[in-house]
Structures are given as structure tokens and as C-alpha cells.
Amino acid sequence: MKTILQAENVEKVYRVGSMDVAALRGVSLDLEEGEFLAIMGPSGCGKSTLLHLLGGLLTPSSGRIVIDGEDLTAASDAKRTDIRRRKIGFVFQRFNLFPTLTAEGNLRLAERIHAGGANGGEDSGERRREVLSLLKLEDKMHHKPLELSGGEQQRVALARAIVNRPAIILADEPTGNLDSENSAIVLNMFQEMNYRFNQTIIMITHNPEAAAMCRRIVQMRDGQIVAPNTGLQV
């Protein structure tokens, strides 16, 4: 199996006033292609900071992160943005869809950015329809986010994350704003993406049932990974 992500002894220190606050204290993590990993831990343990570092939204204070063979930590801000554009898809707890665009418009925008500002290419329309169909959103593609339920919005966000076939999807509590029924639907979708496309996914969650659907679970506490491989196989 190909290693798609490597994090070596990653540390992140925030400066708060005159104080240094360590958010991550030497986190190391390897992820193989096609893995579906859950990161669990109490609030403030550094889960989101780790996810932002893996996605290149933050830079570590020390350590090294390699995504699909490209070193994020040695990259400039522009290069990190470029790696994020090509290799990473984000799904957020608050959906973070563009409210003025329809579901399809949100996907088109992601394709356009992925294509460096150009149109997504000839096969993009087909891929978009395939993803929307897989997520059972064909009849919602012309709806704007406010016209969709929370579960539907999160499915659009997942569709947007996956439409460009990124190397990794990073999901920050994707079911945190959903009721149990919609949570189950969204988690099933994640699982289906993982199985069908061998999509690598890292998901932060507080929900043990959600974590139980992942192939591997890591536990974090006080900025460190305390249980690197719970070894749960679904």
C-alpha cells in the first residue's frame, strides 16, 4: 500500500499575548492510501489544529508533513495552497457552502479552482453528475444551501470535497451539526466513498458510533496521540 500521508514529530505552538501555548506536542502519524481514519479526543486536545496542519491551512512550529510525496512544511505559502488545491478536500462541521451558489454551482466553483481558474474540463460535467447521483443529490443540484436540509448541505459539501478526486479528504466533525438520522446518512456516504473510490479520509469526531465506522481510530489528548491505532476494522 502506498503511504499517502506522513506526519513526523509535528509541533504547533501558538503565541497568546506573551505566553506560548503548545497545541501539538510531537504528533507522528502515517496514513496509507484508502484508509478511513477517525481522530477522537476531548475538546482542546489539538484535533482541529492537527487537521488544519495536515491540510496546509496552518504551518507547524516544527516537524514535517508529507502529503502524497510532497513536503508541506518545506513549501511556501503559495506552494502549500497549490498542494491543497490538488490533493486535499475539506468537509467542515458548519458545511461552509457558498450561500449565493446552487449545489451544482458550489461543485463547479471547486472544479474551477482545482483547474487553476479555468473550467473543469470536458469530463467534469460527467464526474459532477456521478458524484451528485452517488450522494443522491440529482434533484437538489439547482437548490441553494438555504433551500437544503442540514444533511443535504453536508452531502453537497462532501460532493464538493470529492468531485476533484483529492488524495485525502479531511473532515472536521462532519456530523456535529446533524441529527442522528442525517448523521447516519452522511457517515454512510463517507464510507461508500472510501470503499467505492478507495478514498483516503481523516475524520475528526466526538461520536464513538461515527468513529466505529472508520477502519482506524487514533485518540488524542493534550496535543499528543495517546492511542495511535485502536485497530478497529469495519
Binding site: 488544519h52 491551512l57 497549490d82 461552509n96 449565493t100 466553483l109 479552482i113
Partner: protein
């Protein structure tokens, strides 16, 4: 259209309208002021160019663009007629007063119609020449714009009614003319005029006649100007007009730029989280700048179109109401377009760069 730029504009129609109005205001300022300046200047030039006399004879300071006095004796006309090469000399009083509707200036001339018309090849197209002290004639443009005809009355000199006895063509100098005697009487300046028009005989060089006039001891101390010099100097005689227009253009650019900058600044503050989302999707700084700049460009373009439309409509309405002439030139239209679009795009640059440099994590956490 499922475009981020178009949808963002549609999402906030009031702000978009205010921004468009700001750009339109800048464009209007440029178009209306330059159009008015050009229109009035060309109008004066057209009317001056109808004068076929080659020489203006006046006292120094007796005739300026916006003022004139009747301080020249009409006896000079007789002296000038005797000079070799002079065909005729006609005394004229020009009186300038504030326009009846509070805008600009209007002129009335006192002339003896027959010699003046013969000298400048003017014809009465209706009615007859003024004879009595309360009679005037007007040109066709004045009759058309003021909806006036023979028999109508016009208030001059502080409301005194004057009866229109004729309409002449083509337009030349003041649009309203009365007899020289009537004007002298009205101004209490018997035997005086503002200037004397001198027409040279065919084939005679006007400059040679000017030299002969200057050589006459009886005409010393007066000012002699060629008509062609007066026509080309009309724009130059309005002090600092060019400076004023350039200052206006600069002001318009600042207005357009500031309005768009404020609108875009507010927009990116409101859309901070969306900018964070763009960053999370991998949008480069250049892409984020381009999204905001494209929005500013569309707003500026709409403002430009609105500005042109309002300028043309306002020019037409002002012309109808006050008789002021607007003539729009391509050069100033191009300047207005550059100001509208350039000001908007430049104004949006700071908010755009600021948005592009936002921290993605903070932006995503923005409420």
C-alpha cells in the same frame, strides 16, 4: 448564471446600486462639466465665426468674454470708414447679463440692422428689423428653444418687456438684437458703443488695414483685434478652465475609487468566512484578488453605463429647461470611462489584497 461574482452582486442589490451610483456620479461629473464647457465654447465659436467683418475695433478692456462696456465713441466708425481698404464699419453695443433662469450669461446687442446684416450676410427669415425702443429681433435658435415667434415679448434689463419684430438667420454673436439707439437709450450711453466691426474690401489683406488703422493719429489708444484671433482665443479667455476640468477629472476618479473601495471593503468583511472557504478549496491569492476585482469591474462597468445614460438625459433636460448647450466629445468620454472603470478597479485593489492575505483558519472561524 451560476457565477460567484454575479451572484454576489445580486445578493446585495442595495450595496451594488450604491456602488454603481458612486461610479456613475464620477462619470456624470466629467461628462456634464466637459460637455457644458465644450458646448458653450463651441456655441460661442460658431456664433463668432458667422461674423464676416475681419477686424474688431474697441477700447482696451471694453470687451471681455463675460463683460462689456459702452465706452467707445461711435464717431470712430466714420473715421474708420475713410481708411483705405475698409468697406464698412458698424458700431455695436454688447450688453451681458445673468441668464433669466439663474444659469450662465445672456447677451443683447445694439446694432443698426441694415448695415450689420449687409456686412455679415444675415437675413430676416420672419418679420422686420427693430425700429422702436422696445423692439428686438432674435435668431432662429432662440426662437426654437424659447418657443418664441414674431409678436412675442421678452423681458430684458430687469424685466422690461420687449416685443419681437423679426427672426434672423444664421446665428451671429448675441441671439437678441435691438437698434443701436434703443440700446444706447437703455444703457444711458448716447453716442457710445462697445466695439466697431470693420469689414475690409475684397482682396485687401486685413493685416494691412490693421496697420493703417494703427498709423492713424485719431485712432490711437484703442485696441484692434483680428476676428480670427478672437475665435481661437475663446477657450483661452476663460481663466483656468483647463485646470478646473483636470481637477474635476481627478476628483471624479477619487469619488469612484473611494465608493467602490468602501463597498468592497464592507463586502470582504461580510464575506470573510467565504474567503476562508475559497482558501480551503485551494484558491490562490491571485484567484481571490481576481474574484473581488471582477466584481468591482462589473460594478464599475454598470456605473459607467448608468453615468453615460444619466449624463445624456441630464444634458438634454438642462438644455430644454435652461438652453445650456452640451456637446460630448469622444476624448472626454474615454477619460470618463477610464475614470469610472479604473477608479473602481483600483479602489477594489486594497480590499482584494487584504482578502487574499487573510489567515484561512481565522477566516473560517469568522461568524
Amino acid at each position: 448564471m451560476d457565477s460567484l461574482v454575479a451572484n454576489n452582486i445580486r445578493q446585495r442589490p442595495l450595496r451594488a446600486l450604491v456602488s454603481i451610483a458612486g461610479v456613475a456620479l464620477g462619470v456624470c461629473l466629467v461628462m456634464l462639466f466637459t460637455g457644458l464647457s465644450r458646448g458653450m465654447s463651441n456655441d460661442l465659436q460658431r456664433r463668432s465665426s458667422s461674423v464676416l467683418a475681419e477686424i474688431y475695433f474697441t477700447r482696451p478692456g471694453g470687451m471681455e468674454l463675460t463683460t462689456s462696456t459702452a465706452n467707445l465713441s461711435v464717431k470712430y466708425a466714420e473715421e474708420l470708414s475713410k481708411i483705405e481698404g475698409v468697406q464698412s464699419a458698424v458700431p455695436v453695443i454688447r450688453y451681458i447679463f445673468q441668464g433669466g433662469r439663474g444659469f450662465g450669461f445672456e447677451q443683447v446687442q445694439g446694432v443698426d440692422w441694415e448695415p450689420y446684416a449687409a456686412m455679415n450676410d444675415l437675413k430676416l427669415v420672419a418679420g422686420r428689423a427693430p425700429a422702436a425702443a422696445d423692439e428686438i429681433i432674435i435668431d432662429e435658435a432662440k426662437a426654437r428653444n424659447g418657443n418664441l415667434s414674431v409678436g412675442s415679448t421678452l423681458a430684458l434689463f430687469g424685466g422690461k418687456p420687449y416685443r419681437i419684430t423679426g427672426i434672423y438667420s444664421p446665428e451671429a454673436e448675441a441671439r437678441v438684437k435691438m437698434s443701436l439707439a434703443a440700446m444706447q437709450d437703455a444703457l444711458e450711453a448716447p453716442g457710445k458703443c462697445s466695439y466697431i466691426l470693420v469689414k475690409t474690401k475684397d482682396g485687401v489683406d486685413p493685416l494691412a488695414v490693421v496697420r493703417r488703422i494703427e498709423a492713424q493719429p485719431s485712432t490711437q489708444g484703442n485696441k484692434i483685434q483680428l476676428t480670427r484671433d478672437i475665435i481661437t482665443n475663446i477657450e483661452k479667455t476663460i481663466p483656468y478652465l483647463g485646470v478646473f476640468l483636470r481637477a474635476l477629472v481627478g476628483l471624479s476618479a477619487v469619488v469612484s475609487g473611494l465608493v467602490v473601495m468602501l463597498a468592497m471593503y464592507t463586502t470582504i468583511t461580510e464575506r470573510t468566512r467565504e474567503i476562508g472557504m475559497l482558501k480551503a478549496l485551494g484558491a490562490s491569492r491571485g484567484y481571490i484578488v481576481s474574484v473581488i476585482e471582477r466584481e468591482a469591474f462589473v460594478i464599475s462597468l454598470l456605473g459607467l453605463v448608468a453615468g453615460f445614460v444619466v449624463s445624456f438625459v441630464a444634458g438634454f433636460l438642462i438644455n430644454r429647461a435652461y438652453g445650456l448647450l452640451f456637446e460630448y466629445g469622444w476624448r472626454w468620454a474615454l477619460v470618463a470611462a477610464l475614470i469610472g472603470v479604473g477608479g473602481g478597479v483600483l479602489g477594489a485593489l486594497y480590499p482584494a489584497v487584504r482578502a487574499a492575505n487573510l489567515d484561512p483558519v481565522n477566516a473560517l472561524a469568522h461568524e
